[in-house]
Symmetry: C2
Subunit: 188 residues, 2 copies
């Protein structure tokens, strides 16, 4: 008896990755996921978000541990600076989504990665959220991501990994195209 | 000699908050901020984002410490589940932005808060990012935020805090209206 060793390139189990894609192709309802977070106010602009369970692949799942993520405003914005700002967390979500995707895509294409970094910058004019001007939007006016990628492939192939990561990124999609968001207050 | 004590309601220094708004009204260039994150690939879908400096209020600033935030995919999505997913971080950014804003608005209106939580749910069909269907978007199809708010005001006034937080949230704005995002590869 022989066993086929699991291929793991860039730390990605590509056999399982391809098997997962096949399983979802055959049973599309497995692709329906729901992610959830719960943010609790602490004091001032400081709050803590707990991330535990999610739905997907036909059932409920718990992360192997419950995660917490804090947010706050910096002193110059009248916070205590006990954590990154929510706006920085948004940029982080974008950089991490693109980077996770890039590693999967590189593994699927058989390209061994060296170092990968994604710097994200977002410009925002706070006259919007401070209520000073109705002509200034509340959110970022412009976001730029700059990747540095090294790996066992020519520069053009590495660049194509970045473009494919962008074209298949959940966070890039919602930031560039928008998503319906409802905000309600529970009456209880 | 007498000194006026700093008013701090809900942990918000409202004197400084109003002084900051006045300063920005008189000198709009103070409102121009740039936030930045840097994501470094670790292995597979696991990566780490560092958040240190930002520009705003006319100069460069460093957070009082450098923050790191990890992201990963869960096992059911062929990751190691060493951290929340980027998609969950996006929901967290929304929940924390709304919650920070709500606390500031409550303080500005003189309403003492009790407990505040914001649950966020996002539905996503992974056939998009898995490349199985071009008719399914990559990102969330729908996001819902549900607030529970208690405080020293009638329910309608508490609900209005939530609506004003939504109307002045940077993250809510970019998620619902979108923002231009460029993704480039550095050639060096």
């Amino acid at each position: 008896m022989t066993t086929t060793p699991t291929r793991a390139l860039n730390g990605v189990d590509t056999d399982t990755l391809f098997a997962t894609i096949d399983a979802v192709r055959n049973q599309p309802e497995l692709a329906r996921f729901q992610f959830r977070t719960s943010t609790e106010w602490i004091s001032g602009t400081h709050n803590r978000t707990t991330i535990g369970g999610f739905h997907g692949a036909g059932g409920e799942h718990e992360h192997k541990q419950s995660y917490t993520v804090d947010a706050d405003h910096p002193a110059v914005l009248v916070g205590q600076d006990d954590a990154p700002t929510p706006a920085e967390h948004l940029l982080q979500a974008l950089g991490s989504c693109l980077t996770s995707g890039l590693a999967n895509i590189a593994a699927a294409r058989g390209i061994e990665l060296g170092e990968v970094t994604a710097r994200v910058e977002g410009d925002i004019d706070l006259r919007g959220i401070l209520g000073i001007s109705d002509e200034v939007r509340n959110g970022f006016q412009d976001i730029r991501v700059t990747f540095h990628v090294s790996g066992a492939a020519e520069a053009e192939k590495l660049a194509r990994l970045v473009h494919q990561a962008r074209d298949r990124s959940a966070v890039f999609d919602v930031l560039t195209h928008g998503v319906p968001v409802t905000v309600d207050v529970a009456t209880a």
